[in-house]
Amino acid sequence: MARRAGAPEVNAGSMADIAFLLLIFFLVTTTIETDAGLDRMLPPIEPPDTDVVIKQKNIFQVNINKNGQLLADEELIDLKNLRAKAMEFLDNGGDGTCSYCKGRKNAESSDNPSKAIISLKNDRETKYGTYITVQNELVGAYNDLRNRESQRLFGRDFTDMEAEYLNPETSSSLKDELKEKVKSIQDLFPQKLSEAETSTSN
């Protein structure tokens, strides 16, 4: 006997199959993006007008050779010790003008964090992975010092504050407040990381 009341029901049994098909398609095409990395600024190509004289003791030279060995301040060191060594150099405060430095105030090392420069030089044959590790350690040294000062002044990590400041979802009033703080910490330990041209010799 034919049903009269209403239209016949559509069979939804194959809905799951269709949904599965789509699901599998999107599963396969999905790539969760890996968009994080080390931000760096390259130096502009035109040389500065005035030659700045920098004292040798204010420069921390890092050399990577083609075998991935590391020469820091004319000393062959292990990559694992680079961060500590860079921090020691930045935090030294040799001329006593730096009130927040906790370093050893060694007269042979950097005068003030604002004058301290880290110079990185690498060989053409250096592996990119090694180079990134070195970059990571040097940025890490700055971050550790900045975190220390930020904890002292504002009671929270600098990296944490900076991430919130850069997050587009943060409200603008909070952003202004964070901007001040981020800037003040950045001024305490300005990131001066110079990259020399690569050498072709070994």
């Binding site: 699901l23 600024m41 502009p44 990571n136």
Partner: protein, 161 residues
């Protein structure tokens, strides 16, 4: 005989699958929203190095990508096994990077042209020589903001390959 006796034949009642479509749809919507269609197919090997001090690369519309790595096995015969630069969909030499950046920059909206970042997606086994050439080219066209794209992780894992 009684109406309770009927159920006693040992059959496990079937699990209702009526909500299965709902569950699958939920998953489907999740993957639909997180999916990013790749805009260029990779022709080079691209195992990024690890780093721990990373910053997130916000706002995709302000990023220009440059891939570097060894050509994949499919292209190895034609292009050799030395690391190469991939711009969009084709291989290129270091001298073409500058033009590419200018071209990509011109495609972006006016107000974004000064805040572009160049993301270098470089295989961890590439040599620095090629990277230096790229950096030199980038400096020439004044694209000074770079981001060495990495995976999150312990940086010392880069050393053992």
């Amino acid at each position: 005989m009684s109406k309770f006796a009927k159920k006693k034949d040992g059959d496990v009642p079937a699990v209702s699958t009526a909500s299965l479509p709902d569950i699958v749809f939920m998953l489907l919507f999740f993957f639909m929203t997180v999916t990013v269609m790749k805009d260029s197919t990779l022709k080079v090997e691209n195992t990024l190095p690890n780093a721990s001090e990373t910053k997130k690369l916000e706002k995709k519309d302000r990023v220009i990508y440059i891939y570097v790595g060894k050509p994949t096995s499919q292209y190895e015969k034609v292009f050799g096994s030395e690391p190469k630069i991939q711009l969009n969909d084709k291989f290129a030499g270091p001298s073409e990077v500058g033009d590419y950046i200018l071209q990509e920059r011109a495609k972006k909206a006016q107000e974004l042209q000064n805040v572009l970042t160049t993301a270098l997606k470089v295989d961890k086994n590439a040599n620095m020589g090629l990277i230096s050439d790229i950096k030199q080219e980038l400096r020439k066209v004044n694209a000074l903001k770079v981001n060495y794209t990495t995976y999150e992780g312990d940086a010392f894992m880069n050393l053992n390959r």
